[in-house]
Symmetry: D2
Subunit: 136 residues, 4 copies
């Protein structure tokens, strides 16, 4: 992805990108795609009835990740309080999805991969939230 | 919208819809559309340079509202902790956007309407969060 | 929804709203919500294995409807060729989803409602595409 | 991104991934992020009034790219006709955005990068559409 490169050209950023936030943005888009894919793969498994909670958490996680990725991308003006709130919601969505996918990881490779991607995104959100100032 | 009608047919809901959540879902989709529209209208105003913060908050608010509307719609399994977190993030996004739109309401009718819609959505999110149990 | 009211205040629209497009925008957001809800309800049905295609079309339709609703909302500058293309994609997504939901309408009330909403959105997209000029 | 890895584990794919579609999916998410970022950077430029069309096309392109990326990710059941239609809409959105960004590329580095990313995504969509069968 080109997140670092393009955000670095924002007139208010001038190359001083927040590395933790850049990593978080890229993980959010990656995680959204993985969650859409895992929900879709779960749907054709023969034991789909036992994967309902997994599919639901996948879909929720994808929605939060995309919103968070877009909001974290913007640098015009400021919205730190919302960025923090969304990074926390996103870390939560990723943790819950990773836990549920993890329960199916030994049976379904897509759940194993998705759990890994969710964990990476959870960590990236937590890393980013520590770098976002509150008082703006 | 058909949110109440269709969610009422979910096998686990069986007509016992949560009225506060239904209202919240409908406000979220309405608010997303209004925020996309207000950002777009701000962009052609002659004083666009003074509306940058407004446009940015509009776009952020639209993203959060859509994610919240989808997540609040789902009734399969459970994800109450995330629903609560997103309802709180969404109420915050709406409040911040309403405050900024409110500053331009006397000059721009789209900002006046958008501030109203955001306030309605903020209240609906706050009303809904009180109805969503935490321990599931 | 407030689509007509807020788009009517756009400086380049000045109250001369395109009624067919306004209806289409509102149907798109309504249909997105219904499709998210129908996919979610299908997922807990005991015959979920026979509803896989329905769930998949629901999810695809929701994605197209949201993108179309946002794109059709914008009035700044022009993008008629893309609006036309997306209205056509959206009408297609709605038709395919309505056909599949229709197959399950006698067994599942959510599929019956969703098929109706998809048909309304399909017609609204087709009505709107006739009003959008190509040469801009 | 993990698109190839996770889609390869879908029970109906069994490792036989469509390379052109995988590339397209990754470009769609990348392009969505770049377009959100370019719109945001344009907004703070001193000549924002001359970048209105660019911002509008950026926002439209981001919306189409995200919907296309999700739809192209799904492998359950089939929806080839819609995938084709969306790939064509997405190639169009990317081309129009690349052309407009290209006009500002010499003045704004974010427009130069975004035009490049849009061109890559346009080509990837065109490459993918040739691999998606129509008659399903």
């Amino acid at each position: 992805m080109h997140a670092e490169q393009i955000i670095g050209t924002h007139p208010d950023v001038k190359g001083q990108v927040n590395d933790a936030l850049i990593r978080c943005i890229e993980e959010c888009y990656d995680c959204a795609q993985s969650c859409v894919s895992c929900a879709d793969a779960c749907l054709v498994e023969s034991n789909v009835a036992t994967l309902r909670q997994c599919i639901r958490l996948n879909l929720d996680c994808a929605d939060v990740c995309l919103a968070t990725g877009a909001i974290a991308t913007r640098r015009t003006g400021s919205n730190e309080e919302l960025i923090r709130s969304m990074l926390e919601s996103c870390a939560l969505a990723c943790r819950l999805c990773a836990e549920e996918c993890g329960r199916h990881a030994s049976h379904h490779e897509h759940c194993r991969i998705c759990a890994d991607v969710c964990r990476r995104c959870e960590e990236a959100c937590e890393g980013a939230v520590r770098t976002v100032g509150f008082a703006h």
